[in-house]
């Protein structure tokens, strides 16, 4: 990152974002996503037996079949993510409220999937800004869900206006605790946060297995589950069933804005970023690197904890084993794609949320497994992280400035 000039502090967030965005080269990001999607399409076509049958007929019919297969797959993905326009039109024409809700449900369901991505993406992005690699978002999500759901069912007699914030806060605190341990170890002993957060992930999984079977189990259930949370802790849903869209999405946007304010509008945030971009300079400038490292991991953990609490308070209303299914790991790719900027995180969270939701109905309609989304994410991540590949493929000019997407402290801290 270039040294901050005084007048830059006066710029608004959009300008900062745009500056970093354009410096990183919009073309590369676009081409990275495009290439990822293209290769995904090739993979889908290459794994469809009908395509090979068509190739037996003639080369061009094979190519045509491959092309239509890929188009159909992505068509199903998009329809699954935003809804079928014809159905929506027909539903509005009929005027039946339930039909309308069903038709527009895919779009809102995508936003539901986006919400935990925003929280978890902010968690990883905040870590990157401070030069820390938080691979532990997944474990922090689990702990946040555990503490959030506990506050949801174990504290009776509160009105929603108090119960909801308390439960969310409990989730954040649980995640923060899970971030605090690696942060403290990193700051005090130099134990690398990548390894410690991976280990903390697995401790969190085991702990939640045990809690769900034992202390937090619902006595009326045979399988390990927690009791239902009280209605006063449920995040209000804005529409009737089947739409599950709840206010968590707006909380996520608010938190993203707060993270932006913290990072770019406060001295404190500037110090955090300074620790990230040049630890030695920060130390020389009198910033307490130790405390900033711990604080950053606590905040990152808290954000991921919110993702967990959001899921149990807004969607599941209870905790079941293995509920998160990879939000934490996906968010690493997401944060990098979003240039570790809150606005970028929100945008890429939308992309990931729509992909994830679309993939589910894609699997139902055209039989392509949802795992194609992971492949897309891995490809996009690789191309974003190594722009030189994209430049080589598309014969782009090499820029003068450094293209490192993230500056991390050395392996040994």
């Amino acid at each position: 990152m270039s040294p901050e000039k005084p007048q830059e502090l006066k710029k608004n967030g959009l300008a900062i974002f745009w500056e970093e965005f354009s410096r990183s080269n919009f073309t590369v990001i676009f081409l990275a996503i495009f290439t990822g999607i293209f290769l995904g399409g090739v993979l889908v076509a290459a794994t469809t037996p009908e395509v090979y049958d068509a190739f037996k007929v003639s080369f061009f019919s094979g190519i045509g079949k491959a092309f239509t297969t890929a188009i159909n797959t992505y068509g199903a993905l998009i329809t699954g993510a935003i809804g079928n326009p014809q159905k929506i039109q027909a539903a509005f024409a009929s005027g039946d409220a339930l039909l309308i809700r069903r038709a527009i449900n895919p779009f809102f369901e995508s936003l539901v999937q986006t919400t935990p991505y925003i929280f978890a993406g902010l968690s990883v992005a905040l870590g990157f800004r401070v030069g820390l690699f938080n691979i532990g978002a997944e474990g922090q999500i689990y702990i946040g869900a555990l503490t959030g759901v506990w506050a949801g069912y174990a504290i009776p007699g509160l009105p929603p206006i108090i119960h909801i914030p308390v439960a969310m806060l409990c989730g954040a605190l649980g995640g923060a605790l899970w971030g605090f341990v690696p942060g403290l170890l990193k700051a005090k002993t130099g134990a690398h946060e990548v390894i410690t957060t991976i280990m903390m992930n697995y401790i969190a999984f085991r702990l939640s297995d045990w809690l769900l079977k034992g202390p937090m189990a619902d006595p009326n259930e045979v399988t390990p589950k927690t009791p239902w949370i009280l209605p006063s802790a449920e995040l209000p849903q804005l529409f009737e069933a089947p739409i599950r869209f709840h206010i968590g999405f707006f909380i996520a946007l608010l938190v993203a804005f707060l993270v932006y304010l913290l990072l770019f509008k406060t001295t404190w945030g500037m110090e955090l970023r300074m620790v990230g971009s040049n630890t030695n300079a920060a130390q020389y400038a009198g910033i307490n690197v130790t405390s900033r490292t711990v604080i950053a991991m606590v905040l990152a953990g808290g954000l991921a904890g919110l993702a967990g609490a959001n899921e149990v308070l807004g969607i599941n209303h209870r905790l079941i084993p293995a509920f998160s299914s990879g939000y934490g790991f996906d968010s690493i790719a997401l944060a990098l794609l979003g240039k570790s900027h809150p606005l970028g995180v929100v945008l890429s969270a939308l992309l990931f949320g729509f992909l994830r939701n679309g993939a589910r109905s894609m699997q139902l309609t055209v039989g392509v497994p949802t795992d194609i989304v992971s492949i897309l994410q891995a490809l996009i991540l690789a191309f974003i992280a190594a722009p030189a590949i994209i430049r080589t493929i598309y014969r782009l000019k090499t820029p003068n400035q450094n293209e490192d997407i993230v500056s991390l402290r050395s392996w040994k801290g």
């Binding site: 794994t47 002993t189 991976i198 697995y202 401790i203 085991r206 040994k412």
Partner: protein
């Protein structure tokens, strides 16, 4: 300038002596703590006169060994006494270079004490427990060896999990198609090598952050194996792709007849023997050959190595590809050596425990096998947790490897040796 260097040097050696002293005291404290723990927790919680009965024959063994029955209280007191003596000696004099070995002995004694206590008044199949421990250690140790190959050359590899998964998948398909386990194994190794090559290209050629590169490998491998598996392998029409078969158990003549030890160590399929051979082979290669010296030089000080005419890039490429092949081999264990079929995400985090075993074993093959066996022991114990006489949730036993790794990383028992250039891309000038 000269003066400042001198003072730093003096300060370093002084600091080192202080650190050594601190380490000596902490170690002694751990030994004494283990002794006290046995006295106050284990001995205090057994019924007087209770006996511990260990069964000494794993299921299906061809030898017969009599059960081992002894007084729990006496055994525990004896173990605690030995630990206390070791602790006192460590605090007063210190074992010096032997400290790590003594620590391992203390850990084994302590675990034996734990088992004695947990079995007191009942019985445990000790031989079965240890046999499963050896089996469970295989993927962890092989994963650790993969990590060692990469990291000794200066490339961090957190993609072991993904490389393993790829090896597992590819070996299943090729073994099923060719109806030949060796072809399956070879294909898994090659597939792991290809993943290693991708990791190498991304992190050595394109110099992207090695953690990110490893993450790409993990996400991609999970995605593509699950994709292909649910598209083909799990479908009835393609079931023939998921029937690779398994390597049979090979009984080593004479050695397998040794009472107790024979069935535990010398009656397995080839993966256990391969693990033991590879550990010693890699130790020899790394520390006794010119190739090993080059790999380590590149991992410690690439610039110096380059100056001496070692091709840093080539050495790293080779090490990372070999590391990938090792992880691919570890992956084939899951399908060809353990379950005989491929299931989605079947490695279940073993690659990450392998990474932990590497750190625990201080980037050393033999140490990593020790760590792999230790973690394998807890794995094996957590399966049998319900059979023990004490209520101990299997989840907590499952946590031990991760907690232990965090403790090691935090430097409580002394800082390990991380290759100096680990994780840093090399820029040729």
């Amino acid at each position: 300038m000269t003066i400042s260097i001198d003072t730093t040097h003096a300060a370093t050696s002084k600091g080192m002596r202080a650190r050594e002293r601190r380490r000596r005291l902490i170690m002694g404290g751990i030994f004494l703590g283990a002794a006290l723990f046995i006295w106050f927790v284990f001995v205090a919680n057994i019924t007087p006169g209770a006996v511990t009965r260990f069964l000494m024959n794993p299921g299906g063994a061809s030898t017969e060994t009599a059960d081992w029955v002894f007084s729990s209280g006496f055994a525990l007191n004896a173990i605690a006494g030995v630990l206390a003596l070791l602790g006192v000696f460590q605090v007063v004099r210190g074992f010096g270079k032997l400290t790590n070995g003594i620590l391992a002995a203390v850990a084994i004694l302590f675990l034996f004490g734990f088992l004695t206590w947990a079995t007191s008044g009942g019985q445990t199949n000790l031989a079965g427990l240890l046999r499963v421990m050896v089996v469970r250690a295989v993927p962890l140790t092989l994963g650790a060896l993969s990590g060692i190959l990469c990291e000794r050359s200066g490339v961090v590899n957190i993609g072991i999990e993904g490389m393993m998964l790829t090896g597992a998948f590819v070996s299943t398909v090729f073994a099923s198609l060719s109806d030949n386990l060796w072809i399956g194994m070879l294909s898994g190794i090659i597939a792991g090598g290809v993943m290693g090559l991708i990791h190498a290209v991304l992190s050595i050629k394109y110099k992207i952050n090695q953690i990110i590169s490893g993450t790409v490998i993990n996400i991609f491998a999970t995605g593509i194996t699950s994709y292909l598996s649910s598209k083909f392998l799990q479908k009835t029409a393609y079931q023939f792709l998921n029937e690779p078969g398994m390597f049979p158990q090979v009984e080593i003549p004479i050695l397998s007849k040794i009472p107790f030890i024979g069935p535990i160590l010398f009656h397995h399929n080839i993966y256990v023997y391969a693990m033991i051979i590879l550990v010693f082979f890699l130790t020899f290669m790394l520390f006794k050959t010119r190739w090993g010296l080059r790999v380590r030089a590149v991992g410690e000080h690439p610039k110096a190595a380059d100056t001496l005419g070692i091709n840093v890039f080539k050495t790293r490429y080779m090490a990372v590809i070999l590391g990938g092949m090792m992880a691919g081999f570890a992956g084939t264990y899951f399908t060809l050596g353990s379950s005989g079929r491929f299931d989605e995400v079947m490695t279940a985090g073993r690659g990450f425990i392998g990474l932990a075993a590497m750190i625990f074993g201080n980037y050393n093959p033999i140490g990593s096998m020790g760590a792999g066996l230790l973690f394998g022991f807890f794995d094996s114990l957590s399966v049998k947790a319900s059979l023990l006489q004490v209520p101990l949730p299997s989840e907590f036993l499952g946590m031990v490897p991760y907690l232990a790794t965090i403790i090691v990383l935090a430097g409580v028992v002394g800082k390990g040796h991380i290759p100096a250039a680990d994780g840093e891309p090399y820029e040729k000038e």
